[in-house]
Symmetry: C2
Subunit: 531 residues, 2 copies
């Protein structure tokens, strides 16, 4: 295997991709460089900006050299990892290329590329479904043909997935491509979708591909290079990006940030701490000659892309990728809409997210309630947590459970209460719903910090989860302790949802001692029962 996954969060992962010239750590951006003339030399891109690999276009090299292919590492004067694309971008732009699919495979082998792409047919975003289907089929036909034509297996070959904005076609394309012998898969041409800020469509496209590709092969998102969407795309399982955007935006006096794109002319301050920006002011840069300014902006853009990917990797390593995606979604309405689409796929992220992480989750908004940790707790509770043989369940707002537990050792009646097989102590909160006493210390139930407010959708959701579990349990009596208004609402909702089962509501006034009130209530009941 050329790809080894080191660490995971959501569908994102940190991986090591071994090429014949060395290893790339993913998620990675391959900066696109022109094979003939470069704004920033490949060597500089590696040595100064820390990108270990670049991508260039083998079709442009072919156009120039045809029968006399150079070695690509010599042409670019770069001894690092070089990926080559095949001309598909030119097909997208100009409708066709002159080269034959099998020729460009052989040509890339002669170039000695480290990663190479077959000549696929990208699906234009405006393509009809029929045309899109043709691009998928033709790409598959070429992929199968490529399997036979490829001679050098020391090169990592990329099998592109097409289908454009038709998720069914993307799924089909991915399923079929997955059967072939490629080391990397790529999702074709969401460039237009991204340029138009249709990140929500991009989410559907990526997921259609991702869910049908082998998880142990890296997924390359063609033409994606804006740092504002890296976190989202990585969380969806993209491992490799390639883009000329650092240079293209620079050429148009555009400045990339993890929050979006700024026009240089609008900048009075550089919202950035990179070396380029720290040493210059926008006034100085605006006065530069065009080529100096372009270089300045390209350097800033490269640093921004690099550090955003480092930030993503640190988020994966911390187990805080969700937080990062959610926070980045707040930077632009288009990303916020994409995050809403992302939430629809939350179920697929649960199984890939580690059970234990270095840090407890931050739950920021209602949207955070779709997190893997929350989904997992619900599933675990329903599927695995055999409710004990207790007759009675007591549901305490979670702020009371800790005092209960703390008093435990000093208070024999409490000890009796907690250990008695008849009573099952549980806490509840807005985020996880019911947390049985026995699970309180299981990660991340007590490591979670939230700023969730008891809005009606949240309350509805919490009460539904609580009722769902209570319905499956066999307690004879149920008590819910309430103090705040939202707790009253939960209690009322439980009564409505669980018609037929009696639920005792025990109200605590602010300042009252919940422990003793619960004890008194139980004792009263017990006395009653004994009578």
């Amino acid at each position: 295997m050329s790809f080894e996954i080191r660490s995971k969060d959501l569908l994102g992962r940190i991986g090591q991709l071994r090429t014949k010239r060395g290893t790339i750590e993913t998620p990675f951006l391959l900066p696109v460089i022109n094979p003939i003339s470069q704004l920033i030399q490949a060597r500089d891109i590696r040595d100064t900006f820390h990108f270990e690999a670049v991508i260039t276009n083998s079709y442009l090299v072919w156009r120039r050299f045809k029968e006399n292919p150079p070695k690509i590492h010599e042409l670019l004067d770069f001894d690092g990892i070089i990926a080559t694309d095949s001309g598909a971008y030119q097909i997208l732009q100009y409708g066709d290329v002159e080269v034959d699919p099998s020729d460009i495979i052989r040509f890339q082998e002669q170039l000695d590329s480290d990663i190479a792409v077959i000549l696929d047919i990208p699906t234009d975003q405006t393509a009809t479904e029929q045309r899109a289907k043709w691009t998928v089929d033709e790409t598959l036909r070429r992929a199968k043909e490529a399997e036979r034509n490829i001679q050098r297996r020391d090169i990592l070959w990329v099998g592109p997935v097409q289908g454009g904005v038709y998720p069914e076609l993307v799924s089909y394309s991915a399923r079929e491509m997955a059967k072939l012998n490629f080391q990397i898969h790529a999702l074709g041409s969401p460039t237009t979708v991204m340029q138009q800020y249709h990140y929500d469509k991009m989410v559907d496209m990526i997921m259609a591909a991702k869910l049908n590709l082998p998880p142990d092969r890296p997924l390359h998102l063609f033409g994606a290079g804006h740092p504002m969407m890296f976190a989202l795309a990585v969380a969806l399982g993209c491992d490799i990006f390639d883009s000329a955007s650092y240079a293209l935006f620079a050429r148009n006096d555009r400045y990339l940030t993890p929050e979006g794109t700024a026009k240089l002319e609008d900048l009075e301050y550089f919202p950035c701490r990179c070396e380029s920006c720290y040493k210059r002011t926008p006034i100085e840069v605006k006065k530069m000659l065009k080529f100096e300014r372009e270089r300045f902006l390209a350097e800033h853009n490269l640093r921004t892309c690099y550090s955003e990917l480092q930030t993503v990797k640190q988020a994966i390593s911390d187990g805080r990728l969700w937080e990062m995606v959610e926070a980045r979604a707040g930077n632009h309405p288009a990303l916020s809409r994409a995050f809403d689409t992302f939430l629809r796929y939350a179920q697929y992220m649960e199984s890939e997210t580690p059970l234990r992480k270095r840090k407890g989750p931050f739950l920021i908004s209602e949207k955070s309630l779709s997190r893997p940790e929350i989904i997992r707790h619900r599933k675990k509770l329903l599927e695995n947590f055999a409710s004990p043989t207790a007759n009675r369940i007591i549901l305490l707002p979670d702020k009371y459970l800790e005092p209960f537990r703390q008093n435990f050792n000093n208070d024999t009646s409490l000890k009796k209460l907690l250990h008695t097989p008849q009573v099952h102590m549980c806490s509840y909160n807005l985020t996880y719903g019911i947390i049985p006493n026995e699970l309180v210390d299981v990660y991340p139930l007590s490591q979670t910090e939230d700023s969730i407010k008891p809005t009606s959708p949240v309350l509805r959701n919490t009460a539904k989860r609580m009722a769902e579990w209570l319905r499956r349990s066999s307690y004879k009596s149920r008590m819910i302790v309430v103090e705040d208004t939202w707790q009253h609402k939960i209690a009322e909702s439980l009564r409505k949802q669980l018609k037929g089962s009696k639920i005792q509501i025990l109200e605590i006034e602010p300042g009252e001692d919940a422990t003793s009130k619960v004890l008194a209530s139980i004792n009263r009941k017990d006395r009653k029962r004994m009578r």
Copy 2:
């Protein structure tokens, strides 16, 4: 005036503060340096890290030099702007200082400080209300005494506001302090509140001070230096910060980011593009000697603070400070709670926010609906927009208004309809409610981009705003055009709220031509009426 405001957004502003040694552009952070030994020299802090001014503690200098005060610029070997604090921090830490309030004023004058602080009594966060009141009164007494004792008026003097977590006391303290002759005000000691992440309390404290201080004097937030709260504090009207946090956190192997604090030991990647981080890996830094590591972290922390303030300034200049505050609030539940508190003060921000900005607002979530632009539109509509003498109002979902307007020139019946004094064309949407045709091109009504979803609270709010205005108008007939479910709900809600007034609901099926359907409906009505 020593303070000139250049640009504003929310309660934040970019200002020029003139001292006798030069000008500071606010919002500004005064890095705290120890007068005796520095981790990073003042000169370096300016020349390498771009902070034009530093703050040091005159009390520590007094303890060492007493009767023989040095010149502070010589002591620090720094010819830039130097502010001095007075020992109040030591009062907070150790309960008392040995120096007399009038002595430390004279001492700071002898030091030749550029900005100086009287010896106030900080309110401990755990102080009882009685004790807090005493600190306020004693600080005021000392401030009045200082007014008489100050001899050098070329120094900018800071009048501190106290009161701790008691907003009434803070308001009182601010009102009284505002009457005295100070060039800068400061809000005392929210350090503990901030250390405990009680940013919501901090919001109330700042607003209690801000709303009672002269807006033309800068407000200094004592001891605030974490980049994660700069945007929020600036949006609340804070202009100056001072903090040793860059060095204190470095000493404890802590790494500051605009998102929060990281432990160096947890970092596998530097989530940062500053020069220090770009050239090193966490592994290398972890292996450094303690003093090298401390220096490395302090440099990173300084750069982070500086660039976060540059980012805040660019946001003010773009008119996107709200976006920045809202996005940063997504980084931590404590900031998210503080943002909820911030929303309660939204009304005070409207009057300070420019009418026109370079960029249209991004409305990200329901919380964005408290923005000044939205509040302003509601006010304007209710107070200033005389509804024309039309008999009939037609409310169109905003996506239909543009086609209506575009067809206008080609369609005489439309022209008649739009120009007829009997019909008032308006559009409506989830964010602004009703937008009369005449206002569509007024900033920012058509420059707004949103990702607001029609949740029940949003719909309730929109329908309420719409009904509020309709109630004040005198149309004889009202038609609302609806297509999506949420539009139906709005229409139903309007009918309920405006019982007694008839509201015609015109349903458009997907794909139907709204223009002609509305025209047909009106013509039918007109024909009826004519009969």
